[in-house]
Amino acid sequence: MRSPVQLQHGSDATNGFHTLQPHDQTDGPIKRVCLTRGMHVPEHVAMHHTHDVGPDQCCSSVVQMIHAPPESVWALVRRFDNPKVYKNFIRQCRIVQGDGLHVGDLREVMVVSGLPAVSSTERLEILDEERHVISFSVVGGDHRLKNYRSVTTLHASDDEGTVVVESYIVDVPPGNTEEETLSFVDTIVRCNLQSLARSTNRQ
């Protein structure tokens, strides 16, 4: 039985965000989008999943329920040096600056075959062991996701499980629409969080 997965799109009206019109793209202001609006989450979670979205950008979040305590899930999620413990699509990962435990550290990820990407250079932005928050931004590599930044938070659910929220913000690549970009990235993120659920339950 697959765990329920919820999607919150940045373009959803319930988030108070209006769909960008073409004529707005050149001079549209930055809009603040809270991707957990409507959800019952701790205040720090809501803060981490609030993004300032500029023109030609989009954001979204994926929610995954996992029937395991937050500490068990966090043991996998916190591995900036070894994302393969739960993420798909990674062929190799190597820390290229620092030790993977501090903000500013860099990793080089090589992507598996079959995907429209080759590599990704990623910087650790947040690693909060107390509140279970990890964030990275993509600063280079061979792919089409420019200015990508991801935040993943864990918090306890009401039934002794864990609620994982992963949100991201990214530029819309030339030639694609916002909807297409969200569809592509959501597919990857959703697949990884479902894998995280299976990996955690398998331990």
Binding site: N82, K84, V85, Y86, K87, N88, F89, I90, R91, R94, V96, E108, M110, V112, S113, G114, L115, P116, A117, V118, S119, D142, R144, P173, G175, N176, E180, S183, F184, T187, I188, R190, C191, Q194, S195, R198, S199, R202
Partner: protein, 442 residues
């Protein structure tokens, strides 16, 4: 898939990561597949190539023997079939051209002569510019033997699997899909090929999903760190050749091409997401095709059908498209290959090249197993002939399994693909379909 690898090539030229100092290995490996070789690596050393070939030839013999045992056992146990068994004799008096009313005369042992019903074939696989080999090839001549009171026929299986995400789904297809087809073939009395193949592919797809949920093979790169293979898949283009028909079942963007009377006849159609009927099917299922470095399902996968890839179901289905083609005297050969070849070589060019190889190396009237061609003097050729003789002796009347001309044709196609800058794995199987001259039985 090739367009990604082109980027890979560009990236490598521009700024190769410091930690990845290994040079790209480009070469062609001529080998016979065996169970222990799940991920053969291409080698540029010619000596290694030939040495490996000799070793693999022995493995092929062993695998062939095993398959004979495996395939004959179910036949013999079938209560509905009357089995005519002639020890040390493989005689087929009836073939597709004979009337069902012909009565087979069972000759005595002394007048029976060996006839070789197996097609000649060759295979070549090359890693190419990509650093991992994720293709797999399965060759199973005589994997099904059908016997009735009046006739005995053999069916032959050839499969090419192009993995993506990792190699283990393709490796699993190589190990199992022919067994599933065999089970379906032996249990199906009506020879409904479309349904048989669809059931086989569905079972294969379920096996790779279920298999990933229980145990991971230590032979693939996923290792124990990624205990999940929802995001790994493979193409599968499979051909079963009977005396009367050529059956092709395809799932993904590998391809089967028949050469008939000098003309290329595609027996499969590539499953690309922007193929109009595939696009309709995906959209009706609630998915979408996004152009992200080419047309991709949800922007992720560049093919619309595959074995595995559970996370993209139901948009990416494992249902094969099946074609059944009657054999004719004009049939020359069949090519099965991955998109590493077809992305850079047209059907017509491939047929022209293979045709030159087969016509030059293998005269229509020449019979195998007889005296070797005089004039071969080089040491390597001597070795190869010696190996052939050993093989023939070991298998008694079965003779040579693979044909050098077909293998050379396969190798030539892989070299052509590399010359045209294919940056993907390339795997090619060439199957000679020309009928052997029939011998008369007293």
């Amino acid at each position: 898939m090739a367009d990604i690898c082109y980027e890979d090539e560009t990236s490598a030229c521009e700024s190769r990561p410091l930690w990845s100092s290994r040079k790209w290995r480009i070469g062609v490996q001529r080998f016979r597949m065996s169970p222990s070789e799940m991920n053969p690596t291409a080698s540029t050393t010619e000596e290694e190539d030939k040495s490996e070939g000799i070793y693999n030839k022995r493995n092929k013999q062993e695998e062939y023997d095993f398959m004979n045992c495996a395939s004959s056992s179910p036949s013999q146990s079938s209560p509905e079939e009357e089995s005519v068994s002639l020890e040390d004799s493989d005689v087929s008096i009836s073939d597709g051209n004979s009337s069902v009313n012909d009565v087979a005369v069972i000759p005595s042992k002394k007048t029976v002569k060996e006839t070789d019903l197996r097609p000649r074939y060759g295979v070549a696989s090359v890693c190419g510019r990509r650093r991992d080999m994720e293709d797999a090839v399965a060759l199973h001549p005589s994997f099904v033997r059908k016997q009735t009171e009046f006739s005995r026929t053999r069916w032959h299986y050839f499969g090419v699997y192009d993995g993506h995400g990792c190699s283990h789904v393709a490796a699993r297809c190589k190990e199992r899909l022919h067994e599933l087809v065999q089970e379906e073939a032996l249990s199906d009395k009506k020879e409904e090929w479309k349904k048989m193949m669809e059931r086989s592919f569905t079972r294969m797809d379920k096996e790779v999903v279920r298999w990933g949920e229980t145990v991971m093979s230590a032979n693939c790169r996923c290792e124990l760190q990624t205990p999940d293979c929802d995001a790994v898949g493979s193409t599968a283009v499979v051909s079963v050749i009977t005396p009367e028909k050529i059956i092709v079942a395809n799932c993904g963007d590998s391809r089967a091409v028949l050469c008939r009377n000098g003309k290329a006849v595609p027996l499969s159609t590539d499953h690309k997401p922007d193929r109009p009927d595939e696009l309709d099917r995906i959209q009706e299922a609630g998915g979408r095709v996004i152009y992200w470095d080419g047309a991709r399902v949800l922007g992720v996968l560049a093919m619309s059908r595959a074995i595995g890839d559970n996370y993209l179901k139901p948009y990416v289905t494992s249902e094969p498209e099946v074609t059944v083609t009657d054999r004719t005297e004009e049939d020359e050969f069949l090519i099965l290959a991955t998109d590493g070849l077809w992305d850079v070589v047209t059907n017509e060019a491939a047929c022209t090249m293979v045709r030159m190889c087969l016509n030059r190396k293998s005269g229509r009237g020449r019979r195998r197993g007889e005296t070797q061609t005089p004039g071969r003097r080089s040491e390597e050729e001597g070795k190869e002939e010696e190996e052939k003789v050993v093989g023939s002796r070991k298998n008694g009347k079965r003779g040579e399994i693979t044909d050098k001309a077909c293998t050379e044709a396969s190798v030539l196609l892989t070299k052509l693909a590399l010359a045209k800058h294919s940056s993907d794995n390339v795997s090619v199987v060439v199957i000679d379909l020309r009928r052997r001259r029939k011998r008369h039985v007293a």
